[in-house]
C-alpha cells in the first residue's frame, strides 16, 4: 500500500475541517469550531488496482497574527488550498499558501477549493472562471468535495 500525505491549507474559518468531515464521514455541521494544531484523517482508495492510503492533515487556519508551522509541510505530496468564496481576503491569501507549500515541497501538487459555494447564486458563480485544478466546493451541500480530493490524488500519482 502506498501512503500519501496531503495538507488542507487556508485561512481560518474557510471550511477545511468541514471538507475533511464531509469527505471522510459524509457529515456536515455548520457550527464553527476553530481547529488548533493538526488533526489527521485517513482514507483508503484504489486507483487502477493500486491501494493507497491518503493521510489528510487538517491544519489550523492561518490568521493575520499566526502563520502555519513549517514543520507540518514536510513530506507532503499535495495540498488543497481552501478559500471561503464569500471572503475576498481568503481568496487573496491562496497564493501565499501555495507559495509556502511549493517552497517546502517543490514536487508537490496543488488544487484549489473555492469553498462555501452554496452561498453563491448560479449567476454569481458563472462570473468566476475556474481552471482544471480549481473547484467550487460546498461541504454543506456536498458539491465538488469528492472531485477536489480525487483531482489532487490523480495529480499526485501521475
Amino acid at each position: 500500500m502506498i501512503r500519501k500525505k496531503i495538507l488542507l491549507l487556508g485561512d481560518f474559518s474557510v471550511g477545511k475541517t468541514s471538507l475533511v468531515r464531509r469527505y471522510i464521514d459524509g457529515a456536515f455541521d455548520d457550527k464553527y469550531l476553530t481547529t488548533i494544531g493538526v488533526k489527521i484523517a485517513k482514507k483508503y482508495f484504489d486507483i487502477e488496482g493500486v491501494d493507497y492510503e491518503l493521510i489528510i492533515w487538517d491544519i489550523e487556519g492561518s490568521t493575520p497574527s499566526k502563520k502555519i508551522a513549517l514543520g507540518y509541510y514536510k513530506g507532503a505530496s499535495g495540498a488543497i488550498c481552501v478559500a471561503d468564496i464569500t471572503r475576498k481576503e481568503t481568496l487573496e491569501g491562496l497564493k501565499e499558501h501555495q507559495k509556502i507549500f511549493l517552497n517546502e515541497n517543490p514536487k508537490g501538487k496543488v488544487v484549489i477549493a473555492y469553498n462555501k459555494s452554496d452561498l453563491l447564486s448560479e449567476a454569481e458563480k458563472s462570473k468566476i472562471s475556474l481552471d482544471s485544478n480549481t473547484f467550487f466546493t460546498s461541504a454543506k451541500d456536498d458539491s465538488g468535495v469528492e472531485e477536489v480530493f480525487l483531482r489532487l490524488m490523480r495529480q499526485m500519482i501521475v
Partner: protein, 386 residues
C-alpha cells in the same frame, strides 16, 4: 543522577510523556504502558510506526537522517490524537533505535483553542460589520481626537482616497463644507448631534447625522440627497433654487449673524423679449441666464428664482467692497454675454446688506427698493442699500 531519575519517574508517572522506540525499519520495538490512550489502534511490537502514528508518513528520510546525525531531532507540535493534544519529538536513542516522545499538552492546548476561537470569531464579526458598513449608501466615518479614524468604502470612493493611513485623510476637513462655522470635528458633532443638517460638497447635498460611540469616538453619517434635494428645492425651468429654500438660508444666516448681502436681479425689458421672440425663447433665455449666473458665483453662494424674470442672490462676505465688485462684475458679464436667440440682455440689481435689526422681510424690502432705484436711474445698474 539519582535526582534526575527521580524527577523523570514522577513526570512519567503523571502521564505527561509517553514513548515509543522504533528500529531502523521504522518498526515498533517498545512503548510506555499508557501509549494506548492516543489511538484506538493498540501499537503492536514489530508493526510499522506509520500504522500507529500516520503523522510520521512522509518523514522517512528525516528519520533515517537522525541515525547518521545523532544531534538532529524532529518535532511536530499540537497534534490531535483522540481527545488529547500531543507534541511529538523524534530523537536518536541508540545506533539501532529512535525514541519517539509524545508530550501531553491537552490542558494548555484547550485553553489556547478557546482563546483562538474567541479571537477568530471576533475577526469574523469585525469583517461582517465592515461588509455591512461598506454596503451602506451613506458616507460613514468615525473620528477620534478630531482625526478621521475609520471610514467606509463609500466615503473612500467619494473622496478618492486610496489609503486610509494616507496623511491626506487627516487634512480632509469635512466640517469646512458646513455653512455653520465649525472649526473641528468635535464642534461639527456638537452642531449636528442636536438635529439633522445639510452639507454641500461640490454639487452634492448630504444630510449629516452624528452619533457618539463609547463617549470617545464620533460616528458621522452623510446621506446623499442631491437628487431629492434638487427635486424639492430647485426650480424646474432654470435649476436655480426655489424661493422657499432661499428664504430658509437667509433666516439661517440672519440667526448666525453672518455678514451677507441679499441681491434682487430683474431683467431689463424682458417683456420686449417675450413680445419679440415669443415665450418659448423667453424660457430659453431664462435658462441660459441661470447658467451664466451659476458659472460666475462662488460655491457657497445661493442663487434662487423669485418668480417670472426676478432672481435672488445670497452672498456671504468678509469685505463689502469685494462683494460689491463681484456683483458689478456679474452685471458686466451678463451685459456682454452672447445669448443664443436674442441680441443681448441687461439686468438691474438691487443690493441690501444684513444689519443687526434686519429680518428677511426688511432685507427683501431694502433690496427691492434698491432695485427700483436701479431701474429708475436708467437700468443695467447696481444699487446698494444698507
Amino acid at each position: 543522577m539519582k535526582n534526575i531519575q527521580a524527577i523523570l519517574n514522577i513526570v512519567l508517572k503523571k502521564d505527561i510523556f509517553e514513548y515509543i522506540l522504533i528500529d531502523k525499519y521504522f518498526k515498533i520495538v517498545n512503548t510506555s504502558s499508557n501509549i494506548n490512550k492516543y489511538s484506538k489502534e493498540i501499537p503492536q511490537m514489530g508493526v510499522e510506526i506509520f500504522d500507529y502514528l500516520p503523522e510520521l508518513v512522509g518523514l522517512e528520510e528525516e528519520m533515517e537522517n537522525i541515525f547518521t546525525h545523532k544531534e538532529e531531532t524532529y518535532f511536530l507540535e499540537s497534534i490531535c490524537k483522540e481527545e488529547y493534544y500531543v507534541n511529538i519529538s523524534i530523537d536518536y536513542y541508540d545506533e539501532n533505535n529512535l525514541l519517539i516522545l509524545l508530550h501531553d499538552i491537552t490542558n494548555i492546548t484547550i485553553t489556547s483553542q478557546k482563546l483562538l476561537q474567541y479571537s477568530n470569531e471576533s475577526i469574523l464579526i469585525n469583517n461582517t460589520l465592515e461588509k455591512i458598513l461598506n454596503n451602506q449608501n451613506a458616507l460613514l466615518f468615525c473620528t477620534y481626537e478630531n482625526k478621521i479614524l475609520y471610514s467606509n468604502a463609500q466615503f473612500i470612493n467619494y473622496f478618492c482616497i486610496e489609503n486610509m493611513i494616507d496623511k491626506d485623510v487627516e487634512n480632509l476637513k469635512i466640517y469646512q463644507y458646513m455653512d455653520e462655522p465649525c472649526h473641528d470635528y468635535d464642534t461639527l458633532f456638537e452642531y449636528v448631534n442636536k438635529k439633522e443638517e445639510y452639507l454641500r460638497i461640490n454639487n452634492d447635498m448630504f444630510i449629516v447625522q452624528a452619533t457618539s460611540l463609547n463617549c470617545s469616538h464620533n460616528l458621522f453619517t452623510l446621506t446623499k440627497v442631491t437628487k431629492l434635494s434638487n427635486e424639492i428645492q430647485r426650480d424646474l425651468l432654470t435649476g436655480a433654487y426655489k424661493k422657499t429654500y432661499f428664504d430658509s438660508m437667509v433666516i439661517k444666516k440672519i440667526k448666525q449673524k453672518d455678514n451677507f448681502v441679499l441681491v434682487v436681479l430683474d431683467f431689463d425689458d424682458f417683456k420686449v423679449i417675450n413680445d419679440t421672440y415669443g415665450h418659448q425663447v423667453g424660457d430659453i433665455v431664462l435658462q441660459e441666464f441661470s447658467v451664466v449666473v451659476n458659472d460666475n458665483i462662488r460655491k457657497q453662494d445661493i442663487f434662487a428664482r423669485w418668480g417670472g424674470e426676478e432672481f435672488l442672490l445670497l452672498l456671504k462676505y468678509q469685505n463689502i467692497e469685494d462683494v460689491m465688485q463681484q456683483i458689478e462684475d456679474l452685471r458686466d458679464i451678463i451685459e456682454n454675454h452672447t445669448f443664443a436667440h436674442i441680441k443681448g440682455l441687461t439686468v438691474s440689481l438691487g443690493v441690501a446688506s444684513r444689519e443687526d435689526n434686519d429680518d428677511i422681510h426688511t432685507l427683501l424690502q431694502k433690496a427691492d427698493q434698491a432695485l427700483y432705484e436701479a431701474k429708475k436711474i436708467g437700468k443695467n445698474k447696481v444699487v446698494f442699500r444698507k
